[in-house]
Symmetry: C2
Subunit: 292 residues, 2 copies
């Protein structure tokens, strides 16, 4: 297991972590400058932030700073309630793939979607099995496009508390079942993004990380589970402030050969989004060394 205690070479910042500080959007290009100034070598930007800054400008800044993308957030949202919805999801995922390629991302992260319409508060139905079938079909279709572009796909299982509205793939086991189905030879063209926040509770976590193997572990995301957690979405903790044994999970992932970045992804309305962005980045560096 790599020793992170004396440098932060393997720290990546998911840019949602500093997307809005004290009520103001922090523009992506400024985030990249602030990361580069601190010797942070990798980021994982969100598409809306890229769009706001302009893809070409972001691509230039990434190259100018020599930054890597530990992933691109995000494709997915495969579920639909009509043919137009299906086509819109497909078109959007193809754009996401092209953007990921332009930015030379390590993978396109897939948050697969929940019940169609649920994220907007109006689920079209309650048939989660049907949503899961749509997801599996959508992933199978997208994998062909991803292979053509040589871009890896990473299914990110989300915590079961997001099953209804954000992602109906909720465990690594379930994600790997989909991977096995669409890529039976386990080529690594599709794998998983392991976010400790979503999977730390899983009694099968270690065995499923081992099942994934190094070829299918495409991303490793960190933050922490706070006690109490006051909001289902935006109360994630800084590493070390919660109950997740992050180092143990990283050990399991690295034992499979994973040698990529530890990507910090924290949504925190009440705490970290209320601070100066530079302070948040400095804290990420310190906690990466001490708690990851």
């Amino acid at each position: 297991m790599r020793d992170f205690s004396d440098d932060h070479r393997w720290l990546s910042i998911n840019t949602a972590t500093v997307r809005q500080q004290r009520g103001e959007d922090w523009p992506l290009l400024q985030i990249l400058d602030a990361c580069a100034a601190r010797g942070i070598r990798a980021i994982s930007p969100w598409r809306d932030q890229v769009q706001a800054a302009g893809l070409a400008a972001v691509s230039r800044a990434v190259k100018a700073h020599g930054l890597e993308l530990s992933g691109y957030c995000r494709g997915g949202m495969f579920t639909y309630s009509d043919a137009a919805g299906r086509q819109a999801a497909r078109d959007d995922n193809l754009r996401a793939l092209d953007e990921a390629c332009e930015l030379n991302a390590a993978c396109l992260v897939l948050v697969v979607g929940g019940l169609p319409g649920a994220l907007g508060g109006k689920p079209a139905h309650k048939d989660i099995a049907d949503a899961r079938r749509q997801v599996a079909d959508g992933i199978a279709e997208l994998l062909d496009d991803a292979r053509q572009r040589n871009m890896k796909l990473a299914i990110e299982p989300l915590h079961p508390m997001y099953a209804a509205d954000r992602a109906c793939i909720n465990t690594i086991e379930q994600a790997l079942d989909v991977c096995d189905a669409v890529d039976p030879v386990q080529s690594g063209a599709i794998g998983v993004a392991v976010d400790v926040y979503h999977v730390w509770w899983d009694p099968k976590l270690r065995s499923q990380i081992e099942r994934a193997g190094g070829k299918r572990l495409h991303a490793f995301h960190v933050c922490d589970w706070l006690l109490p957690t006051t909001d289902l979405l935006n109360d994630r903790g800084m590493m070390g402030d919660g109950v997740i044994d992050i180092a143990q999970i990283r050990g399991w992932v690295e034992a499979q050969g994973f040698a990529g970045y530890s990507e910090v992804e924290i949504f925190s309305t009440g705490n970290w989004w209320q601070r100066d962005g530079g302070e948040v980045l400095d804290t990420c560096i310190e906690r990466h060394r001490r708690c990851v």
Copy 2:
């Protein structure tokens, strides 16, 4: 599958559903009166409510009304950080067993506990595997006592969002693994309580209900998952107001031979606990007929 549409013979009220209406505790004996007056034949009381009313008085009222207990809430909380904590948990569980026997409950429901100290906000450590070992040991020990009293134990897997502080058994699969270990012949002395709120998201839900089988399905709890859910603990929905296909899950449970009560258990600070208790019970009856 039983037809619930024209009566509510198989409705049970978990008394936490109406424990505090508009900021005032509704005394348990009054709850029992209100249930009996509506032809509700079963309840599942919480221990603190029983203690407040007095066990003997509750026992008399249960008999006088001819009420059944679909379960008794609750034993468990097996995890500890020192020998005194272990002994305290054991003593408390023996008391819970005796109370369940006095009230002739169908089973003692076990909410197994999370990281020791976490419910009070101070987890003793982050080793959830260790907590799970303590739980398995505690259950094995308690099962002997339960057998002597002829009282069934029902492990209630809680939603993974409670893994840290309330229960580190989070899926039916995991609960059944414990059942298999402590009762290899699957006698039914220990089984599971299936609460749709905790398990509806699980891709293995149907297969694990089938694995449990009728002899190990000891309780069936209903409420609903709201969109959005604004609080991790106390924002459960009334059946029909959320996204859970309750009837489908009940069908799976009954296909295994389960013929007991559908127990309504709703914690709702912002909505149902703000209403008149009688109105809540009337709504439970109506929704039981239409949405369960």
